[in-house]
Amino acid sequence: MAFEYAGIDLPIREKTIASQRMSWEMIARPGRWWTGAERVEIARIGRAARELEAVGSELLPEAAVYAIQKLVVDNANLNREFYAEVVAAEGMTEDRYVELVAVVVHSLSIDEFHRALGIEPEPLPEPIAGEPSRQRPALAEQRDSWPPLVPRQGLNRGDDVFYGPLEWGANVISALSLVPENVRWLHDLSEGHYLSFAEMRQPDPLRAISRPQIELIASRVSALNECFY
């Protein structure tokens, strides 16, 4: 089983382990627009990019490899032109881009957790065979962010809770909703590494470090990445 943390003398929380295992399963399974093998390949290219290795791929379109590398190492300089160029390229669409971003950022987050603690990266999962479902949510709508978004009625059953009282959710929560499974994935790994959406509204104590300490780290990471959001 993945994420055993055997021989690691650190108190890794059960929710962290559960959310990391779920993420590895998500990556291995066929999505809506990429096969399991392609999704694992996306994670592989992203992992190499973080090591500043510009590896190529026989499975992915050239534009996908370019997008992965930009997302990992040059994220402060992404802009609308980059997005338009990538989604218009051969083998790419808005839907494929959104699914690619989700795989890149969730696998990168888990790698970053390990690296911060001096733990070797987890071997990438074995892909699960099958075809992508190729289902675009009927209610997807172009709003202010680059890819279209899905409103609460278009989410998977039970996931509307993640939007709170809002029709379109907070912008960062709905950002990857064109592939609706991403909304729950975003939440569950957030709960494992940081806080659940419900915990974000609750007072301390939530973790071993205080909420101001948590948010100070978050602010510094955002500033280092030159992220305005």
Binding site: N75, S109, G118, I209, Q213, I217, A218, A223, F228, Y229
Partner: protein
């Protein structure tokens, strides 16, 4: 979120937001210098990381170290979602934080263009 959580904890008076964006100022958050140095070393992947890990474990505790690593990991993800999808600031956040963002120089970031 930092300002809001400090307000809730009753520590807003000692908070210096300049300490959140760079190492030049003291944030006023307990152990803030150590935690932000750790975050910086993790993001930038510097040789200081192992020593900072040991210091956090010794001065704060190992659960504190694990939780700090989780926050770094989470926000390495969130910034890429925000900037990879070109999302603008939520309206309420924009209105409530415009002055602070100006003061901290955040409008200079390329991704500020995503918020009209």
């Amino acid at each position: 979120m930092l300002r809001e959580s400090s307000k809730r904890n009753g520590s807003l008076d000692s908070l210096n937001l300049q300490g959140a964006v760079g190492p030049e100022a003291d944030s006023g958050v307990p152990h803030g210098d150590l935690l932000t140095a750790f975050a910086e070393a993790a993001v930038r992947r510097t040789d200081a990381l192992p020593g900072l890990r040991e210091r956090i474990a010794a001065e704060l505790g190992v659960q504190e170290l694990v939780d700090a690593a989780g926050v770094v990991a989470n926000f390495q993800r969130m910034v890429r979602i925000a900037d990879g999808c070109g999302i603008p600031l939520d309206e309420l956040t924009r209105d409530a934080t415009d002055d602070v963002r100006d003061e901290l120089g955040l409008h200079e970031y390329a991704s500020a263009a995503n918020t009209a």
